[in-house]
Symmetry: C2
Subunit: 316 residues, 2 copies
């Protein structure tokens, strides 16, 4: 597209997932002015992933009424180097992105500055700016899906870590004799409370009924109806989440845990056992007044968080 | 003592422990100009603990050449409310302090503003300002003694938590089926790696030799000489510390763990197994370049950290 002046009142947000990229033009209040979703082939090489995103972004810019955004925020799974925007690890599901910088490509292609961050960290930034995190100065966002990710807000600011890699609560070990995790450790939270772990627990417990649920939300529906094996599967996930989040509470003295990701659609079936188990694992004084709440931005958290990243890098 | 002008170049630091209070006059560089140690009776009521401290402080002020300090920093075990300076929990060993504000008493008695914080958090502030933390912007201080405490520095600043209670790494659960902890949780780090836990492990493993060591530093001496049961006791402590610190690394992406407290005098006997086990529990990318080092301020960490707190509250 032709280079043109950048508008100070708009940024772009892009959220790359395993099957598609969500693209939006977002104003300062977090309103999405125009949006699109571009399918991606997770096994494709870098250019065949980012060029369709660039084309989708150009389309969304036009649909929003023209004028380039002031900046472009981009988020994706894995460890993202904040300086270069390159993916430096944890991107096994989209191997073409490893070592490559989507924001460098998009900045050149679109003609606006671009930055990248991890998707769960961006989701925390979004919940802080526009969602369930607004009442809290300090909270942990946990995203429960195929894996478990996390983002931290401390003292009103996103904590990204010394190198930008903070938030890996999915790989906090809860039992040194627990199941081996692909990360190299043992007994990681992800082994007990991710979507696949919940389905696995259900299948082990349900016996002849195990065919009745194939996804964590299937199990959640059965749990909501009082099915004992489904309740037990979510109780186990809640216990692991309670132990992990309880440790974070004791370490950081934060005010809330916000639960997002696909499995969070299970609602109280997931949150209630987490709240109950927290009372065991968090120091009573630190647990007092602590809140466990559902994320409020749903599937838009990554896109809005990428936009929030752009606003932050543009200086507010 | 007579009220007089306060000197802008000096503060007082006080570190209350279970058997004595350390008191010092400290300059901006962290040099201790004058110091004293006042014995305390941990079972005495509040006034019989703080009045001797006030008298000791007046003496140290006189010994330093007179002139009131610009402010007084005070640290003690337990949870300290930053606004009032009152101990609001975790002070079972010195019950007279519960609910009472030593800094309020000292400010009135001495005639200088006073502030309080937890001792491990102050030790982290001291290592940041004057000690082993100087090379790092983000680190965890773990104090290993009768209990296990912690303090966090994130992005060059002490992280105290939403209410001032952060740092309780001793009560991060490492195993939901582990031993019960007085805090109400199970499998807390303190149950595996505190001084008493190391001695307990030694006694269980050493059989007929168990009488040869009665303190964690006795066990450390045997371990340094290659005694297998003593090595195994420290290996178990190192494994628990490695799991807990590995979780913190994955969550926070910090640069270092600084190990202090009485048991840290064991040196490499404690640090080497911690470093080794970290490689299991921390995500490889996050463990890269991570340092595990001994604290450098020894018994003065609390006193110097209390002084650092006073400098911080005075605005620099």
């Amino acid at each position: 597209m032709a280079r043109s002046a950048r508008r100070a009142d708009r940024v772009a947000g892009i959220d790359l997932g395993g099957t598609s990229a969500k693209i939006g033009i977002v104003d300062r209040s977090g309103a999405i002015i125009a949006r699109d979703r571009v399918p991606i082939d997770a096994r494709a090489p870098f250019e065949r992933i980012v060029e369709p995103i660039a084309e989708g972004l150009a389309g969304v810019i036009a649909a929003a009424g023209g004028g380039l955004p002031a900046g472009i925020g981009y988020c994706c799974p894995g460890f993202v180097d904040p300086a270069s925007g390159s993916v430096v690890g944890g991107s096994e599901n989209i191997p073409g992105m490893a070592g490559r910088s989507a924001p460098a490509y998009l900045a050149e292609r679109i003609g606006a500055p671009a930055w990248a961050d991890n998707d769960a960290t961006c989701a925390a930034a979004a919940e802080l700016a526009y969602g369930a995190g607004r009442p809290f100065g300090s909270f942990l966002l946990v995203t429960v899906g195929t894996g478990i990710g996390g983002g931290l807000v401390l003292g009103g600011r996103v904590w990204r870590g010394a190198r930008g890699f903070a938030g890996e609560i999915g790989h906090v070990s809860l039992d040194p004799a627990g199941p081996a995790c692909p990360c190299g450790s043992r007994g990681c939270l992800e082994q007990y409370a991710s979507g696949p772990a919940i389905v696995r627990a259900w299948k082990e417990l349900a016996g002849p009924r195990s065919g009745e649920a194939e996804s964590p939300l299937d199990v959640a529906r059965l749990a909501a109806a009082g099915e004992p094996a489904a309740l037990a599967a979510f109780a186990a996930a809640g216990r692991a989440l309670g132990q992990a989040v309880g440790g974070v509470v004791n370490l950081l003295d934060i005010q809330a845990c916000i639960v997002g990701g696909g499995v969070a659609d299970a609602g109280e079936v997931l949150l209630e056992p987490l709240r109950r188990e927290l009372r065991t694992f968090a120091y009573p004084l630190l647990a007092e007044g602590f809140r466990v709440v559902a994320a409020s931005l749903g599937n838009d958290a990554g896109l809005l968080g990428a936009a929030a990243l752009a606003w932050e890098r543009l200086g507010g």
